[in-house]
């Protein structure tokens, strides 16, 4: 009590104000809110404004052109192709990721043994699995550029020596439209798999042990337990992992920029890359902003779903 008596009078008016919850909470949150409003809110508004003008790289303003940039983009076959590819890349890579990650997470949470050798083995496996997530994406994609090289591809060397493809006409992974699509999907799936696995491990870890015990008592084991107990409980957090995956793939530019630059002949073009090439490289800010904004409905939908499922996870 003595300490309290001492502490009170020493504080100034500001300090006393900070002791009140009513003032303290807003004071602590305000800097974050202000900064986010300035660096996300304002640019987002600016992007919408730019998309309605004919602004070019030299200025921040332009003439109002209504929805011309949006209709102009839509009429361009390159844009259509970019839109289609963005959807294909996102769906295909996330389908692979969700399948792979559910299996991997399921086995990774199991007991690998108490012996120090088993622990070390598990640590090493986990390290190897985390590598694609931890490595900066632009760097690991350069690694894939070498793996898919036109002359010295290790994939082709292996295929040739297994007599699966001809030595004289090996596949050009980044030079033919369909193979380049497959290459990009591979890289996306490869880099997202560890993150999705980690999220799913979190989901599995949050299933209370009582549930597992109850399942055991009721005779639910093996596949039955997986189908009726584990999967339903894991579904909400798996959805969260997929929603993150969708955002990461749909808005990624690094993989496409480094692997193919949208080529050959714009066949692997994506919305982010097309917006970059239009807005930065060709200097047409307005049309570029419009192309990027076509991603906004997807993001809005994902955000809403994320909130719905976040609540569901909370209930379980």
């Amino acid at each position: 009590m003595e300490a309290v008596a001492q502490a009170r009078p020493r504080g100034g008016r500001l300090r006393n104000a900070l002791e009140h919850r009513r003032f303290l909470a807003p004071a602590l949150i305000a800097p974050a809110v202000v900064f986010m409003a300035l660096l996300v809110g304002v640019p987002l508004g600016l992007a919408i404004y730019l998309s309605l003008t004919d602004a070019t790289a030299g200025s921040l303003t332009g003439h109002f052109v209504g929805l011309d940039n949006f209709t102009g983009a839509w009429d361009d076959p390159n844009f259509r192709r970019a839109l289609r590819n963005t959807v294909v890349f996102t769906l295909a890579s996330n389908a692979i990721v969700v399948l792979g990650a559910s299996v991997l997470a399921h086995f990774l949470v199991r007991d690998f043994g108490r012996h120090w050798l088993s622990r070390m083995a598990k640590w090493t496996l986990r390290f190897l699995i985390l590598l694609p997530w931890a490595a900066p994406v632009a760097l690991s994609t350069v690694g894939f550029l070498w793996i898919f090289d036109s002359l010295f591809s290790v994939v082709n060397w292996t295929l040739v020596h297994l007599h699966l493809v001809s030595r004289f006409n090996p596949p050009q992974w980044l030079g033919e439209p369909n193979k380049a699509m497959a290459a990009i999907i591979t890289v996306h799936a490869w880099r997202l798999l560890p993150f999705a696995t980690v999220i799913m491990i979190a989901g599995l870890a949050s299933i209370p042990t009582e549930v597992n015990d109850a399942a055991k008592v009721d005779g639910a084991v093996g596949l039955k337990k997986l189908w009726y107990v584990t999967l339903p409980l894991q579904l909400p957090i798996a959805t969260i992992a997929v929603l993150f995956g969708i955002i990461f793939t749909a808005t990624d530019m690094a993989v496409g920029y480094i692997l193919t630059r949208g080529g050959p002949f714009n066949s692997t073009q994506t919305l982010p890359l097309w917006a970059f090439q239009t807005g930065i490289q060709s200097g047409s800010l307005g049309p570029g902003a419009a192309i990027a904004l076509y991603l906004l409905p997807v993001l809005a939908a994902v955000s809403v779903l994320m909130l719905l499922f976040a609540r569901k996870v909370e209930v379980t």
């Binding site: 300090r15 900070l18 919850r21 303290l24 909470a25 004071a27 949150i29 800097p31 974050a32 809110v33 900064f35 986010m36 660096l39 996300v40 640019p43 987002l44 600016l46 992007a47 730019l50 921040l60 792979g100 299996v103 007991d111 083995a121 496996l125 390290f127 190897l128 699995i129 985390l130 590598l131 694609p132 931890a134 490595a135 900066p136 994406v137 760097l139 690991s140 994609t141 350069v142 690694g143 070498w146 490869w190 798999l193 980690v198 491990i201 989901g203 969260i240 808005t251 530019m253 920029y257 917006a275 970059f276 807005g279 990027a292 991603l295 906004l296 993001l299 955000s303 976040a310 996870v313």
Partner: protein
């Protein structure tokens, strides 16, 4: 007890995944240690070292004849500044969202999290204009200014998760002993959450090292680049490829990051799910 058979099954499933996921890094290592002659001879078996290999020539070339060290330094500098600024803003915000605010606190937390979902892809065009109006084009300052836009929501979210796991009683005890709330924060709450804060530091730093869109839009001057853009745009020129040096350049930052990820993974999961998915 878990049967040997079930353990074997674990290794048989997890092992192949690990091999596939880690293969590109094995390949980077092999390439980085090979001599030019070994690398580009079509008759050589690429899975083993041939004449002239293994060698550290590529690594030496990377550090002496390119600006690699400069890019590493730039990345570290931007990372440190951004992470410090992020902590100054996110620590109080994360704490307040976890503790002090009621009904609307949760919506605000979700709101800040949603800004994390607004990708650089949507913002880089207007921001590139703003950056050049501010005269920050080709300066690291442009990245230091813009990167907190994704590190702050991410860190606030994780920190909120960590703070929620600290028992309220600890704080109450300190305050009964006469400590002010700010003092309680400084000498009770922050020290206990140090592992959580460290996790936030590591993952925010890696977000900075990862960023590509802003870096490639704002900076074209070679000596101001970060590793994320420098390696690809500067080391691949026309038909001249330095694959050995390139692979060394991609491998060097990746390994320490993965070690840190592995060490702090459980904390990350705790913070990530503690935020609001719980």
């Amino acid at each position: 007890m878990v049967s040997t058979r079930s353990k074997l099954a674990n290794y048989l499933v997890v092992g192949p995944f690990a091999i596939v996921l880690a293969f590109p890094f094995y390949w980077m290592l092999m390439t980085a240690l090979k001599s030019q002659g070994d690398l580009y001879s079509p008759q050589n078996v690429p899975f083993k070292f041939n004449a002239g290999s293994p060698t550290l020539d590529n690594v030496t070339f990377l550090f002496t004849d390119t600006q690699y060290l400069r890019w590493l330094g730039n990345t570290a500098l931007v990372g440190v500044v951004v992470v410090l600024f992020t902590l100054i803003v996110s620590l109080p915000a994360g704490y307040a969202l976890a503790r002090l605010s009621g009904r609307w606190g949760r919506s605000l937390g979700v709101g800040i999290f949603l800004t994390y979902l607004v990708p650089p892809t949507l913002l880089f065009l207007p921001l590139s204009r703003v950056i050049s109006e501010l005269g920050l084009q080709d300066r690291l300052g442009s990245l230091m200014l813009v990167y907190p836009s994704f590190t702050i929501p991410f860190s606030t979210w994780l920190l909120m998760g960590f703070f929620k796991t600290i028992p309220q009683e600890l704080e109450d005890a300190a305050m009964i002993d006469g400590a002010s709330r700010l003092r309680t924060l400084r000498s009770v709450v922050f020290p206990i959450s140090l592992p959580g804060i460290l996790t936030v530091v590591i993952f925010s730093f890696s977000l900075v090292a990862n960023e590509f869109v802003y870096a490639v839009s704002f900076i074209s001057h070679s000596s101001s680049k970060t590793i994320s853009t420098g390696i690809y745009t500067e080391l691949i020129r026309g038909d001249v490829f330095y694959w050995g040096a390139l692979m060394a350049a991609t491998l060097i930052p990746s390994i320490p990051l993965a070690l840190l990820y592995n060490a702090f993974l459980d904390r990350f999961i705790q913070g990530f799910t503690g935020g609001a998915f719980r």
